[in-house]
Symmetry: C5
Subunit: 361 residues, 5 copies
């Protein structure tokens, strides 16, 4: 979790509720509004240079069709208010769209639209390789879908746009509810990339902890835990959200889309369970690490003890014959010196055998 | 959690229930009752010097309007009873208003009002920088709202009063239920300040624990944990409270205010989750800290072992040639002394290589 | 938890169910039955010397009134059976009254009375200062209330009796359901005394653990944890009990008493939450304590290492010039001895600087 | 948990479901079928030597009465099938009767009987003193009850039989549902014996851990934890079972028996809570134990450090005057030797004072 | 958990949902489709060499019968699509059949079939002995059942096929719902084998940890924990699945099969509880292991301390009489040398007694 992101926790106090304020990093990016219209038989895409371009249009030949307003950049209150005005969005909804700290949630508004907000997760480039959470908002109406995203990683929905443009698949044949599903699916699929990077980190930490020994291991484990906690907090609410979407029986979501939403929910559950399993394994790795430290200490202590136990008696023995007593019969013996060496050799041998027997060697 | 606050746990035993007793710090402050009346077209504010000034009044021209009685100071039973008498408040309700140990709750009284109590949290000035919980009570009636607060931090609701006075915003256009929301919003927004200070403390403890090493770290971690626990206990019930407020379908709360209450609830959830995440990270930091201590110990032990392993053999060798045997051929050798030095140099070198191989150096 | 209390876990096996057996400490105390009759206009109190005195009586002038049978001493099966016979109490109910190991519960009997059992907690006198749980049973009928208590701490309900006798308060004006509330309130208020003693113990352990260092700390922490666990197990069921009492919609309990019962429930919740917070902090204190031990060890090891690292080289140096080689040029130098001292002084200084750099000094 | 018992986890794979196989220890015991018939006015008991003796009989005078078939030994599939045939028991039910690994459960069969299975727990004799779980099955019909038990501990239901035979108590006056209760009560009462033995073990471990110090403590704690886990797993489902029995409103169980079943349920809850409290205390004891080890280590290290800190300087000093420099003025001083001793005495004293100041002595 | 398996977490991103992609290890195996038809009176089995052979056939004599399509190999999208086309299976269902990472679940499709997916667990051969999870899918229709399995362990359902072929048992007399049960039963029975291997590993780790001491113990414990976590995650959803199957009241599953499904559910519960108990014991073993390490360290330290405490004073004493003072009266004493030895002997003896008293010896 980048600290800057973790800091920006608070909208400014004492502003009247419903006041639109962008809560996020400063940026000079100009908001891009892309307007896409499609049904089974036609597809049309344009960059809206004026707000009027966002107004619902009639399809050629008056056919019913889906309008997708894809807004990149959520930092300009003026733009927000204009878009909100056209589609009659509640001021609290717009506040949530701009509040990058808003956690994932779903909300039904009585004005006939459904509001879904969640996070797109991706890793920034080396060297920091932090996980960055992009704030995504999706608003589903009867024949339109509005998506809001931050401007960081290019357009996160580009693959969907490509698919719509190139082939007449299920998305083209279905309404905006299926498009909502397709966007959710892209976002959730991206989570697997993050999951995979966690798996890699865990594997490498596992090797590091079990095989070798590094002082840094525990702070690495801690950093990974922090990222897991951060990610889990952002993904966890999706479970509730999707269940609610399926159960709510909202007229905006067709029953035919339910199996698809259930499928996304399955993926979310799988991700959460894997995150939990990782967290569990991480906790065990901490134990393994602490035990490794203790083992190292044990090994250091044994070395010290063996050295002491061998050399202390030897030093004592040579000390004895360094005494200056006038009457010390051994000193006069011609082989006293060699005898002393023998005694010392035996002592050393005895010690070594003792430590071997204690399995310290 | 300041100990004085943590101590004053108990109202005096064996008093008849419903007896009004102030449970809090002694104070000589004189209760201030501010009476504010407003609707879309007029605004009027006065300090009530007599209790009669609290009586509901007719607005100019007989318009329907909102009366807000804002009481600062909850330690005078006499004042409480008079206000309670005018608005027919239950004696248990008044007891809760004065009981600063009462945890946050919501209660509907059949006499047609709604009682909400919660805590305003703020940090006291340096050097103690403790978290202090001010006891707030809000009573919602059909066309009035009574707020009670302790007298510590000035008037916590001053920003709302300013907003009411200066501009005809949503609060002026809505009933006392919206005012209730606005007050809750101000209180909850204040929690973010506390949260931010926790975030800062955690970050600085993180640096302290991971980079350096201080004996004090664990008691700092413990102190932060204690504050987190204290804060969480005071915020946790709000979740239940707000959900109940929305679900209760009380005629006092208009449905139009629900989205706003949900918004406050979202903030409360976000705060609780962040607190939980902090608690989790704190627990991991304790592990990191304990492991750091072990690492330090390991390093100390290695130093000791290396010194011992190098100097014990050397001391033994010089001891050997300090012996006084009459027949010790080496002593007579002209280069014996230098040879001994060579042997010792090689021994030392061998040891150093051994420890390098063991990666202790 | 006194061990004697913790031991007496089991009624004797293989007795037919419903057989009345006293499960508790032996006692030679004679059961006292106090009969109190009151309504708003009269109050009468007598010690029942015969069982007949327990029979319901008519009030003077045939007024409706409340009869409170307050039984102190629950160890005499004969007395129990007689009282039980008069008020037609189920044999299992009487068994529970006498079974001091029965945990708190509420039970509705179809014969038109409500059975509530819970514990009065108090600390025994010094020096043991154990927590003792007195077994209390309350039986609520349409116009009577029977209370059973052990005979340990005098009459726990004396304050209520005083209040009834001296003033015509709410209790006198209400039925036996309000009396039930008043008794519950007295018992729960007593828990705050226990809570306060826990708070004091925790504070003093905190000081002991964070500031000083005692070998006994952990067993003190363990003893406190044991008491917290014991207390929590006895208080926890009250939460369920009181909720049930409010929800049950029993004709014996008037709706007007509900706010009072909710108030008691609030207190119970507050006590449980405080106990949980204490338990949490206790667990953290154990960590702090373990880390303190490690820190002490670290400090001991450093002292050892510093001594070794300074004196081992010195001892080696003086050992060198204690050798008896015939040709050792330094020995002949007139200033050799002083030079050696200088070398040793420099070595020592070097070591001290090294340890200062390592921040061990 | 005896390992043999813990091992026999699996019925042989790939047998058709419903195939009767005894899963338990081999035994050559011959199944005993005891047939007991009673009502308020008569009691009759016989050992069934042929299967026909199990057939329901008419009571003398055609009175309605209760038939209790008490089967000891569950390892003979042939016997099982015959009994099952007479009372039309489902093949899966019979499989569960013989499967000693089946965990406690309750099941209603549409053929008009109720199947309850649970465990009788007892400790084997010294020296192993393991906890053994005997598999008990109880089948309740409209006017009969069939009980199955293993043949280990004699007839576990003998006390009930005695009671039925000798006195016309509640059991004789009630139907088979009350008999079911009586049997459950006997089994649950037995659990208290196990609980008491756990309490004793915990107390003795507590003494062992807090006062003394044994290397074995932790494996004893582990063994106790293992037994607690094993026991809890076998008792835990009873809670659900009994609640279900009371709520199910099965015509086989009369409402008059409900208070008795609730009483058993109370006991089960009390047992489970005590087990949980024991587990909690056990976990704390592990902490205390680990801290005791650390304290011991601390004490060992201090001893070492004190010895080193005293003798290293002394050895250095005597080393100094063991040097052979030609010019060492001190050596010539007549009182040099005594002066050296004084210096050493002061050094030692200084060290002792230093360690006393550091509170190591 | 083999890492390769743990890695393959992700289907390729940005493919349109419903696109059939095999997610698993590459294989060149040719899919085998076995077609089995049976009822009480006939049994027929053939290997389908063309897809047409999968089409439902009429039984000889037009009897109603069960068709079981047993597909081994799930890696060929073409085959999947053909089978899916014949039985009108939803594209998301087919995606789940091929997605070996799909966790166990049950899903009802409105086209009149029921989809169940779960894992067959088995251990691979030595030396790796990893747990391998084979992805199994079962599709139940009104008169057919389609099973899909990976091609690893031969045909997992062979025992069922044998039973069907050789004897007219319950499976032959019942519909495809009973066959579904039989297949689930075989799979769940297999889990007991895994459970048993866990039990063996735990027992052997227990011996290893409690009796001896190995540096590897903790990584073995960690590896076992990892396998337990992996297994539990795959078995846990079955509980929910089976409960849903029983409660769903699906016309495809006859009520007569419910007791059998409940039986499987019982087994699943037993497995999960045993896994949880193992996990619990594992956590305790980690504590035991860490304490063993500490005990070893303690023992090492004691050895060191004893050696130091004995030899340091001795070395000091002999150092004293190695000094070269001119006036040292002891040196002149004829028995000085022997007196010194006596002093040293007494010192040593004193130390030994001291350590014996401290119970270090």
């Amino acid at each position: 979790m980048p600290k800057s992101q973790h800091r920006r926790q608070r909208k400014s106090l004492h502003t009247s509720p419903g006041t639109l304020t962008y809560v996020g990093e400063k940026t000079s990016f100009k908001t891009i509004i892309k307007r896409i219209e499609y049904n089974e038989s036609f597809y049309q895409e344009e960059i809206a240079d004026s707000i009027e371009a966002c107004l619902p249009k009639e399809a050629p030949g008056g056919q019913s069709h889906v309008t997708w307003i894809n807004v990149t950049g959520i930092h300009e209150p003026a733009v927000m208010e204009q878009v909100g005005g056209i589609y009659r969005l509640h001021s609290l909804l717009l506040e949530d769209v701009m509040n990058t700290l808003q956690k994932p949630k779903i909300e039904t508004y009585e004005d006939g639209h459904l509001y879904v907000t969640l996070k797109m997760l991706y890793r920034t480039k080396s060297p920091s390789k932090e996980i960055w959470a992009e704030h995504i908002s999706l608003i589903l109406g009867s024949d339109y879908l509005i998506s809001f995203q931050e401007e960081r990683s290019g357009d996160a929905f580009q693959p969907i746009i490509e698919r719509l443009k190139t082939s007449v698949g299920k998305t083209r044949r279905n309404g905006p509810d299926y498009l909502l599903y397709a966007l959710l699916d892209v976002i959730v699929d991206n989570y697997f990339l993050i999951l995979e990077s966690f798996g890699d980190q865990l594997d490498s930490l596992e090797d590091q902890v079990i095989k070798g020994y590094h002082d840094k291991s525990l702070s690495d484990l801690y950093a990974l835990k922090r990222e897991l906690t951060f990610t889990r907090r952002l993904i966890w609410p999706l479970r509730e959200m999707l269940t609610q979407l399926i159960r709510a029986d909202d007229p905006l979501v067709n029953k035919r889309v339910f199996p698809y939403l259930r499928d996304v929910n399955d993926h979310v559950m799988q991700i959460i369970e894997t995150l939990d399993a990782y967290r569990d394994l991480l906790a065990s790795l901490v134990d393994v690490h602490l035990s490794t430290i203790s083992n190292r200490m044990n090994s250091v202590m044994k070395t010290l003890t063996i050295f002491s136990a061998i050399f202390m008696p030897l030093t004592f023995i040579v000390g004895v014959y360094g005494m200056n007593f006038e009457y010390m019969p051994e000193l006069k013996q011609p082989y006293g010196y060699y005898a002393t060496w023998s005694v010392m050799a035996f002592t050393t041998l005895g010690m070594l055998l003792y430590f071997r027997w204690k399995k310290w060697l």
